[in-house]
Amino acid sequence: MKKQAYERPIIQKLNTGLMNKYGTKTEYEPVTHIDGHAVHDLLQAHGSPLFVLSEKTMRQAFRDANRAFKTRYPKVQFAWSYKTNYLSAVCNVYHQEGSWAEVVSGFEYRKALDNKVPGTKIIFNGPAKTGEELELAIRHDSLIHIDHFDELYSLTQLAENMNRRPRVAIRVNMDTGVYPMWDRFGFNYEDGQARDAIHMIVQGDKLELVGLHCHIGTFMLSPSAYGVAAAKLSQLVMEVKKTYGKTLQYIDLGGGFASKNTLKGSYLQGVDACPTIDQYAEPICTAILNAGFTEDELPLLILETGRALIDEAGYLLGTVVSNKRLADGRRATILDFGVNILFTSFWYDHRISPAQPFGQYTEDAVLYGPLCMNIDVVREHITLPPLKKDDRVVVHTVGAYNMTQWMQFITLRPAVVMVGKDQTVSVVRKRETMASIQQEEQVPEHLKHPDL
């Protein structure tokens, strides 16, 4: 006789008056496949845990964003935000779609050059560019976005020494009605700093001011704030034209569009709370079109969108290591991945799905990572079907920041694979080994023999 499927016994106390109208159960179906590939097979082939990227989803997200802006405004250019995910395979998907590169360090700048991005299509942001890095950017005729006066002076000096005229923009920070206001980067709009910087650049006549840049925040849930930013930058572009007779070529509104993740503490799920790309596009494009530019003078609109283009294309697959019961009766499940590779679990309540069939019963649990550190909590509260040792799970919406902010801490970092548009699976970053870590270390001669 065939035995029946087994599910760990669970008992849950019923509480009245605590449920919200959306209930607590979030997972109704197991996620057994990603882009046609079985989760079990992917883990078998590449080890657990494993990051999986969907090229199809990445391209679709880009095309949706491109359509949202280009149907509203005639001159739009995306620049792929390298810090969001600078795996070369990822960058090249967006470059193939037409994105320029937006980098914030010499390391990222060189990655963009290695990816064969023409220097003229690299935007160099960031508050800590070295003299050597600025020289490199000047030689490649990149767009250098100046963050502070010290940088402005250094760049002016370099331009003179190199007998070149670098193309620059200034980063402008401003009050868009969103708090906290990001005023640590760039020159302030309201107190006149931005105008002073523009005056110095134009009057100094060593740098070619070609645009204005701002980046008002991250995971912004208020599209209207972008409308305010676009209006203020447009105003500044028109002031430059009026004051100096100079037509600026572009407005760069940076990034910060939210993905569909659920921020910790949010009442609604991310899919319900986060604006769509069209909701961002509408106030931005309307503000620039209404600013009073003639048709010929309309500036190019540059967007450095990262998270909203890749987060949903990333999955983290993992395995249950163990179950235990906490002193207060809560179920604790230990997974083979933690905050070391899922950095964004500090910010989000990630959606996590079992990868095998389950019944209708659920239990409240806390999900821990494998690190011997108290901070290693993947989800503080989650309602999931009973999971057992060696069960597989899928973490959704992890494409942004995790593969750049991850830590080689306590354990090694996993492989990253990409499911291509033709369904082939390619390793785009190999699983780390002892050798990949040890090769950077050097031990002084007298410490080579511990003599225990």
Partner: protein, 86 residues
């Protein structure tokens, strides 16, 4: 030590403790185990019943049973201080 005698069980997995007024839900395996406990069966007998009919091995089920019984104690569904499967 045994499950409280006055615990009410429904066929659909609803558990009611009249002495505290608390209600609980259990999944089918949990319901079956509570039924055995009410009949006074011990851990070894329960393990035999479950492993004979379900896709689980002895050691795996023992661990789950111990955890489940521990929860019954935490939820005050057992009599006295001993283990429910003694």
């Amino acid at each position: 030590m045994k499950l409280k005698k006055n615990i009410a069980l429904s066929d659909t997995g609803f558990v009611f403790d009249p002495s505290t007024g608390n209600s609980f839900t259990v999944n089918p395996i949990g319901l079956e185990i509570i039924g055995y406990l009410k009949e006074g069966r011990n851990a070894e007998e329960i393990k035999r019943e479950i492993t004979a009919r379900y896709e689980t091995d002895g050691p795996g089920f023992e661990k789950d049973l111990a955890d489940f019984v521990n929860m019954l104690q935490k939820l005050k569904l057992t009599d006295g201080n001993g283990k429910a499967t003694d």
